[in-house]
């Protein structure tokens, strides 16, 4: 019978081993996000606050063009929330693994959950008979702790570098390219593609609406068209 600390240590190291290849990607993303924040007009102090307390790269990148054009705060909240919706699904799937913990610890486990940690955790423990074991929690910690450090170190580095780069380089455009790099791989099915095309068309036409309300209109159009296309596609195949 292994002792408790031996289980913890083994699980922590296993998590670290599994997450290590992904840390390079985390690092580069953090760097890009750091540069993008200051180049989109955030002060270095604001960018530091953002990286440390928001800790959500895609929502941060999404908010930057909105902040730069002075969109209303509720819309920034809505856009960030929508981009983060995937985490609701992650949280629903991961919650059973942390049920035995106190509420504030569960809150913390949730807060530090990243795409990578979810994607690597589920294949390993998704079918586990017992959920919420010590091993599972420490394996998760072994992934999220190095992930957090890789992200924050590279973000801070990006903020420092971004402040040194002249504005004429227009590095804020790198933020748009980074958003594209997140978005394009999502187009992995026909319904998703039609969602993107409808959203894009509506977003283009409605961009003149005040308060960037076109964003909301086009997102609704995109969701409806995605669900509609999914239903049609399924019917045709069956």
């Amino acid at each position: 019978m292994k002792t408790e600390s031996a289980i913890k240590k083994a699980a922590l190291l296993e998590g670290l081993r599994v997450v290590r290849p992904a840390l390079i990607a985390t690092f580069t993303w953090g760097l890009v996000t750091g540069v993008a924040m200051v180049k989109s007009g955030l002060t270095e102090a604001a960018a530091l606050w953002m990286t440390f307390i928001v800790y959500a790269g895609s929502a941060q990148l999404t908010s930057l063009p909105l902040i730069a054009t002075g969109a209303p705060l509720w819309l920034i909240f809505a856009a960030g929330f929508i981009v983060n919706l995937r985490f609701v699904i992650f949280s629903a799937a991961l919650a059973p693994y942390f049920q035995k913990e106190k509420w504030y610890k569960r809150l913390a486990y949730g807060f530090f959950t990243t795409d990578t940690s979810f994607v690597l955790f589920m294949p390993k423990y998704g079918d586990a008979k017992e959920r919420g074991t010590l091993e599972q929690r420490w394996f998760f910690l072994g992934m999220i702790i190095p992930g957090w450090f890789a992200w924050q170190i590279s973000s801070v580095l990006g903020i420092v570098l971004g402040a040194m780069v002249p504005t004429e380089w227009s590095l804020e455009f790198a933020a748009v390219l980074a958003l594209m790099a997140i978005t394009i791989p999502l187009a992995n099915s026909r319904p998703m593609l039609s969602c993107m095309m409808i959203t894009g068309a509506v977003a283009w036409v409605t961009q003149g609406l005040p308060l960037r309300l076109g964003l909301l209109v086009s997102v609704i159009a995109g969701i409806v068209s995605g669900i509609w296309a999914e239903k049609r596609y399924r019917k045709r195949r069956s």
Binding site: I76, A95, G110, S170, A187
Partner: protein, 112 residues
Amino acid sequence: MTEQDWYVYGAIALLTICTVLTRSTFHVIGHKIPLSEGVRSGFRYAPTAALTAIIVPELLPLSSEAGGVIVDQRLLAALVAVWIFHKTRNTMLMIVGGMVVFWVARAILQIL
């Protein structure tokens, strides 16, 4: 703090609430609300739609002052970036390549 500071820090605070709400709600409350298939499929399309809706006006802005569409280095850089991603599946190469095209095209447009 200036008004702009309040605005930016307000946005940061709200985005933090976004992170906590989306990542931790189920962790904290447990399985009291089941996620139906309909909700899940809405959740699948919403992020893609939001990202697309942010990107499109950045690449192809409409301007009433300039009298319509502004087509410049941004669209070209984006198209080349998509092509690079399609060929290499490498996001960093895509971002760097897109920036290089952006700079070169802008320089050419300025000379013209």
